[in-house]
């Protein structure tokens, strides 16, 4: 058979493309969820996910197999942080503002949270500094193990656990303050 070179290149591209889609498309929701929590905004999350998938496709050759979700989320996370750096650098040096603590709703202790309480919890998480927010999102919402989170955030498992601890403690402190107007 007489094959010319250009189509061959395209076949290669095409197989890569299929492999790529098989690896990362199942994690599209996970990517979107992380971006949405880190940017706290629908439009920005979409921009970040789109850019992350383009980067992922470009660097797919460097993917050595293994856990596609952690690999993809690592790219989403890095894309998020460079995006935030560029567009909202003030947020990365982020402090909890005091006026956000004077809402009088009850804390997240009730197991069957009503809508309003969920809203409250959502807001509290959004107010957490990004390093704490991301571990809580990856653990409690995405359901990843510490090891997987360590791989996404490129940090040791011990750091994951201590950030999770500090993040949850902040949520708990606020729950305590809001509940009783002071610590129990």
């Amino acid at each position: 058979m007489n094959m010319t070179a250009p189509p061959t290149n395209n076949f290669v591209a095409n197989t890569n493309r299929l492999e790529f889609e098989k690896t990362v498309l199942p994690h599209f929701d996970a990517a979107y969820n992380l971006a949405r929590w880190l940017t706290r905004n629908v439009t920005d999350a979409e921009d970040v996910v789109q850019e992350a998938y383009m980067r992922a496709f470009k660097f797919y050759g460097g993917f050595k197999g293994g856990d596609g979700r952690s690999w993809m989320l690592r790219i989403v996370r890095n894309t998020c942080y460079s995006w935030l750096q560029k567009n909202r650098s003030s947020e990365l040096v982020y402090e909890l503002s005091d006026e956000l603590c004077d809402d009088k709703r009850s804390g997240p202790e009730v197991e069957m949270l009503e809508n309003a309480e969920r809203q409250w919890l959502r807001q509290k998480i959004e107010e957490l500094p990004a390093p704490f927010r991301e571990v809580i999102v990856l653990r409690d919402i995405e359901g990843m193990s510490y090891k997987e989170i360590a791989s996404v955030t490129e940090s040791p498992v011990g750091t994951v656990m201590s950030r999770l601890a500090r993040g949850r403690e902040r949520l708990q402190e606020q729950a305590g303050v809001d509940e009783a107007g002071g610590k129990r």
Binding site: K22, P26, F57, G68, R69, L121, I141, Q172
Partner: protein, 255 residues
Amino acid sequence: MNCNESRLLLHGYSDRELDREAHREVEAHIDDCSSCRDIHRRNVSISKALAHESFYYRAPADFREHVLASIDPPENDDAEKQSWWNSRPRLSWEWAVAFSLVVIVVMLATWPVRSPSDDLANELVASHVRSLMADHVTDVVSTDQHTVKPWFDGRLDFAPPVIDLAPQGFVLVGGRLDYASNRSVAALVYKRRQHVINLFVFPEQSGVPASEGSTLKQGYNLIHWNRSGMTYWAISDLNLEELKQLAHLYQDWQQ
């Protein structure tokens, strides 16, 4: 263990991430210490609250297509800016021949190194992904094992055990007929938070040695085991630890 030591490990304890010994030590400590116990209790209630699906932001349906369309194939030598996704329907015979060749080459290249259980794992991952993508997770929708179990009667030549694991946090969503390893299999669908778990059940095949183990494929965790003449495969994007819990619950139930 004192409170300071316990505080360091408490979150790992709440998340069931500690090794057995450390887990026991923290457990013994919080039995006596009400303030550490409170922290643990609140950790668990925060995790439970966040497991509600409203916290998981799902991508809008058309957004996925949009992103796919925007990814250009690399070194696109045509001036044509159309993405692979958009040009897909205009498949020419050259593409078709070429693509078949690639498929054959890939199959030949990967065939000899794959074990039968690896093939089965791939097959089941594909079924799992398909069930999620096509939005066809269940044929019979019920959280009641007494509805799901009889549904399989007459549809299969075996009776898969269906267990209610809602108290342990695995909610039965329903069941589905699937096809794998050249036979009809039962797919039981459980949910843990927003994660879908497909539990495939079918009779052990003669000549295939019974095995147990876990693997990771395409970001999905798979656990398989054999009990009482049946082969089980649990697949999910849930983390391995929690998926193991489901496996253990099934195994314990059949002891």
